[in-house]
Symmetry: D2
Subunit: 315 residues, 4 copies
Amino acid sequence: MPGVPPTRFAFLGPEGTFAEAALRSLPAFSGASEDAGQALPCVSDVLDAVRRGEADAGLVPLENSVEGSVAATLDELATGEPLVIVREIFLPVTLPLLVRAGTAVEDVRTFATHPHAYAQVRQQLASILPGVEVIATASTAAAAEGVAKGRYDAAVASPIAAARYRLTVVRDDVADHHGAVTRFVLVSQPAPPPPRTGHDKTSLAAFIDDDHTGALLEVLTEFAIRGISLTRIESRPTKERLGVYFFSLDCEGHLADERVGEALTALRRLCADLRFLGSYPRADGRTPKSVPDKASDASFSDAAAWMIRLREGRL
Amino acid sequence: MPGVPPTRFAFLGPEGTFAEAALRSLPAFSGASEDAGQALPCVSDVLDAVRRGEADAGLVPLENSVEGSVAATLDELATGEPLVIVREIFLPVTLPLLVRAGTAVEDVRTFATHPHAYAQVRQQLASILPGVEVIATASTAAAAEGVAKGRYDAAVASPIAAARYRLTVVRDDVADHHGAVTRFVLVSQPAPPPPRTGHDKTSLAAFIDDDHTGALLEVLTEFAIRGISLTRIESRPTKERLGVYFFSLDCEGHLADERVGEALTALRRLCADLRFLGSYPRADGRTPKSVPDKASDASFSDAAAWMIRLREGRL
Amino acid sequence: MPGVPPTRFAFLGPEGTFAEAALRSLPAFSGASEDAGQALPCVSDVLDAVRRGEADAGLVPLENSVEGSVAATLDELATGEPLVIVREIFLPVTLPLLVRAGTAVEDVRTFATHPHAYAQVRQQLASILPGVEVIATASTAAAAEGVAKGRYDAAVASPIAAARYRLTVVRDDVADHHGAVTRFVLVSQPAPPPPRTGHDKTSLAAFIDDDHTGALLEVLTEFAIRGISLTRIESRPTKERLGVYFFSLDCEGHLADERVGEALTALRRLCADLRFLGSYPRADGRTPKSVPDKASDASFSDAAAWMIRLREGRL
Amino acid sequence: MPGVPPTRFAFLGPEGTFAEAALRSLPAFSGASEDAGQALPCVSDVLDAVRRGEADAGLVPLENSVEGSVAATLDELATGEPLVIVREIFLPVTLPLLVRAGTAVEDVRTFATHPHAYAQVRQQLASILPGVEVIATASTAAAAEGVAKGRYDAAVASPIAAARYRLTVVRDDVADHHGAVTRFVLVSQPAPPPPRTGHDKTSLAAFIDDDHTGALLEVLTEFAIRGISLTRIESRPTKERLGVYFFSLDCEGHLADERVGEALTALRRLCADLRFLGSYPRADGRTPKSVPDKASDASFSDAAAWMIRLREGRL
């Protein structure tokens, strides 16, 4: 990502999904062609396109998505051919209720959307469209397309799908809980991370030989003693090796920060395996924890200089 | 659950999915009627049916499912009206390749399945059906139904769907990684947990006021010092309260174990909120960590008796 | 101790030492006879007098003493027949320079004191009495007596010794560092501790099977997670059992505090042995750490009540 | 110490004490003159002689001594002008019962020794010399000298004192607990430590701003996570700064060990002050904990090399 922005993107399709909306929110994308990039049917396809060099970067959902699968992304990044996250994108999730032009709410008999999206609008829908027939589709975009083609009367899909299929928005957002966001990550082939900004995040997969609490405590301790906050953690079984777990986690800070570098170096010793998944500017709009003085780069270099003197006998 | 088994079940539908297969694996189900219970379109619907008393128990996927949503289950159990898990069921996931009777593999032009299932068979499929057109459906059952109705040539779906739609199994399991399982949980209205078996699990949602590492360390420490192993942990943002996180976690042991009771009591003090989600026999086929002598019930009662004597001045 | 104060004391002699001064500072002592109690030659003698019932309480130095031995007290209390500390007394240590009436500083040729006291006045002495001959005595009282009898020209001893031997104070305090205090403890036979005051200390001896860092971390963790501060810790080898260590420690709080009771109960399980050495009002003049809300008695009882409800199935 | 051994020693006198015996046990001493070095009256005198260059090395007791003061040594090394420990010496403590030639045990009426030594022989003495008059002396050597001069009938002192004062040994060892040892340390002016032997110890003074348990947990954690065992720990108030504590501690390993170097560097950041007091071959005859693979030098360098590659973008 640093320097020349990638121009060929792969993303989790089909077109008109939230993934495309997230992609279009990228500055690097503003000057790009109309073509949003290559829409691919599953996370693995997107990542493989990047691995094979068919795309310069791939956009996949990581968390809380209404479309895709967190687990697929986590597992692929942790165990597939190495890739790195170079950017995160938070897309506010609005779930507009869409109909064909001319359809009145009273006339809606059938409603379609993806089951994940349905779970998020269930209460609102029961009050707006009581007794409607609910049809599950493979994606929200498929639901929108189905409305456009007259198969269903109404759908919940992304605003971008509304535009693409020229549907009418009867309610801007029928989500039961407003303020939901989906976190996407942009991944590329292994490369030095983008420069640190002072508000960065680092993603890791830490493999341990067993799922015992002590091992996780050890992992967390390496962060805590260096004043590094975790922003996400999840235990995941590995597919290939029975009894081996990994922790997928994000922490505050950048690979270039002394505290982060030292914590990762320690984890490298302690874990069965440790995979670095990228350092990138945080985009979640949250204020990072302030770094304690004792965990600043200056504090680390002072202590390192002291140790050099000590080993030379200069107390 | 203990005593009289529930007879009315709700499960994540449609019929013919892995959820129905999991339900049918229950002993309590063996004597039940042909009707597998009520198939409902989303996790919230299943749980609400139990909450309203329309079902005695509900079966929902919790982990690693190819059909449903982990997050939906975790979040609903953690923040919705209280329910408790009374049983866990691990269903081996085999992904048979299905066609209509008489279709040869060479003649397959279109293939349908749910995107999650597709992600798990991608490599095998590329070698068995190179160049096939892939169509995403809302569920694996929908894909099977589509094959039965002639909309697609082949599908990957559950064995139970194969039987239901009278499809031919051309490959028993086209999963790229064999041995995958989906974990379902059976939930009921709040009640004392089933008796402890010595091989139990306990599920919790621990809310903390902030996502700092220190708080998570505190939570884990309460388990570690009492010799309790965690088997799953996941951080989750809360929907309603900005900056409040919860940890969804499973640990070894039963609410009736002294070490578990004391750990939960401590967490109750430390956490902004702690929700008990059930103790139930573990069914994951893994050998639990042996409980150290110092964490046995006997050790706890000896120490408690000692403290009583001490406070009476009998050293 | 609570209720009727002891009237027969044993203390570390000889008479005129700091131990007698500490004893005289006790309120219980104000109405007692002129006789300060029985002066005994070593810590073990004092403690044995209490054990045999020859004295109701014994006063021995525990820390930072200029006369006695911390180790002897620590070891005897940890491994001898059980006794409990019922009070602590901090005696400001002033080290007056004493001569016989009529002796001028210029005429002092020989100076006597106990080696520990000498170590504390060395720099001052070199400036006040340059080139003086230094003689070590078995106690500061013996030095004072020696001056009285004409064996030495000057001594450093306790103010009480000055009075007893009718010596002249030429300098009020020749300590190189002012503000030193000696901590004495008053011990009795096992009994319920004095009532809690809200500003209490508890003393313990925690035996572990090996001197590994992990064991000590475990011990400290039990305090830290309950918001209990340690005020002193010291590792000690045991005399009888090779490779068994004990930690002699003092913490804030009282046996009657829920957090202290629970911490001790936990240590009882974890340690090879745990000996309670008493809870008593702290007298060190330091402001105790404020107890966090989560560690208050109310917080503990709320959580315990919650657990009872939980086990009855009332979520 | 490495290279040319020191030839001028200072030790805690007077002559004939256990300190002289410890000094004579040094290989470096075997070829030295008859003169054991300069006997000085207190720990500070010994250390100052080294600081001023009047002695090349000083021998002082650190632990469990029957003669000297642990606290004085700990405090002086922690807060005085910097010195380093270059060797530790463990001297088995035997406490022979000494009389003048020709004195029968039945004729002993008066007995003298230092109070610390008395505490260690009290029970034996009561059975061998029931009803004897006990006189405290300033050192065990003074007691031996007193017997030689006819002031007392019997004494307990070091075997070296027996030889020096030509006394008769009536009992080889009257210690109530056999196997006691005194630990002495040999200190020199600041210099690189002696080469590591694989069985080394490192001594430190770690200053923290407050005596809270959390701070001590932090300090211990830095050792524990790197597989370093502590062999001694003691909290000490500082003389000069109210409310500032230091922990005097010994750990396994050598400054040249990666794990020790990194732990000390971390403590340097975390502590208000950290003073290195020397790395030296351990002489306590105990088997050190085996260093876990993850804490070996090789493991540390592998991880450091990995971090360098990572920061260059080579995953």
